[in-house]
């Protein structure tokens, strides 16, 4: 049983890690050096927030806009953290480490296990595996991206668009009208607003209480 949990954790770590290559490449394509791209993977360690950050930077947005986009994208980690608190109730400084490894994957693998011990193992093993592979892959992607030159020639801008669509996809089924609204607001306001701002404006459609299909 423990072995099964570990093998799931490592598979998820490798699968997720692989697309760290695209993050690294897209990060340097956005005009960031290798060091800040690596710091994003090491410190921010939250894929969607990292992609949002470099997306705004690539579009020429202000630092504050990039920070706000990344911040808003990270909101769901709070709910994973609350779920994990109610499961394991960690106390003291260990919570700092719990928090850093609280991401989509560690929460999902943990939730899928049976029994407290396996759930805990699933959380730590997946968090650690994703952290290691994600950072290794980011480094590879950033170094390779640096060698490749023009992002348009390699279609990395198209890869980034596909990457966001892939993250959105599992949520489309329940939230289709909301997604269309966010998409439309960003697109329509784009020619009239400073870079990055249309993304934040689109976030305000979330204030409308669209009912999610269950």
């Amino acid at each position: 049983m423990r072995r099964q949990v570990l093998s799931t954790s490592i598979s998820v770590g490798i699968a997720t890690g692989l697309y760290g290559i695209s993050f690294g490449a897209i990060g340097v394509a956005a005009g960031l050096d290798v060091l800040p791209v690596m710091l994003l993977s090491l410190l921010m360690f939250s894929g969607a927030s990292q992609f949002a950050f470099v997306g705004v930077v690539a579009a020429g947005g202000l630092p504050l806009t990039a920070i706000t986009s990344a911040w808003l994208m990270g909101i769901r980690n709070s709910f994973y953290a609350m779920r994990l608190t109610s499961e394991f109730g960690p106390r003291g400084l260990i919570r700092l480490l719990y928090a850093q490894l609280t991401i989509d994957e560690s929460n999902a693998v943990s939730a899928a296990q049976e029994g407290k011990q396996n759930q805990k193992l699933g959380f730590w093993a997946t968090g650690a595996a994703v952290f290691v592979f994600w950072n290794l892959a980011t480094l590879i992607g950033a170094l390779a991206g640096n060698l490749m030159g023009s992002i348009e020639q390699w279609g990395l801008d198209g890869a980034a668009a596909a990457a966001f669509l892939g993250l959105l996809w599992p949520r489309l089924k329940n939230q289709f009208p909301l997604a269309i609204a966010g998409f439309a607001v960003a697109l329509v306001s784009y020619p009239f607003l400073p870079a990055g701002v249309p993304i934040l404006l689109a976030a305000t459609v979330a204030l409308v209480p669209w009912r999610a299909k269950k």
């Binding site: 800040p36 608190t85 596909a162 669509l165």
Partner: protein, 99 residues
């Protein structure tokens, strides 16, 4: 840029640590739904900007085709990494052909 990255990382971390510090009952289901909606709206906006923006206007180019191919692959349940790779391949390929 380093400081912007560090500030943004702290901002993202604030959500994570908050979840371990705030008593669960302070968070209403309504707020939880709102958080889900923010994620969806942001991702949809990022698809729009990344796929259709061109300096100061919007446009249809190779990326739109790449998004179509990506959507088809996602619908067929292709692995995420292949979808991203196809996004690059289709975009680069069409540009190479002069579109």
């Amino acid at each position: 840029m380093i400081w912007t990255v560090i500030a943004a990382s702290l901002a993202v971390y604030s959500w994570k640590i908050l979840g371990y510090l705030v008593p669960e009952k302070m968070i209403t289901p309504g707020f939880r739904d709102f958080a889900d909606r923010v994620t969806v709206a942001l991702l949809a906006a990022l698809v729009a900007i990344q796929g259709f923006s061109l300096s100061e206007s919007i446009t249809l180019d190779a990326r739109a085709v790449a998004l179509g191919v990506a959507a088809l692959m996602l619908w067929l349940r292709a692995p995420y990494i292949l979808v991203v790779a196809a996004g690059a391949l289709v975009t680069a390929g069409l540009r190479f052909l002069g579109f």
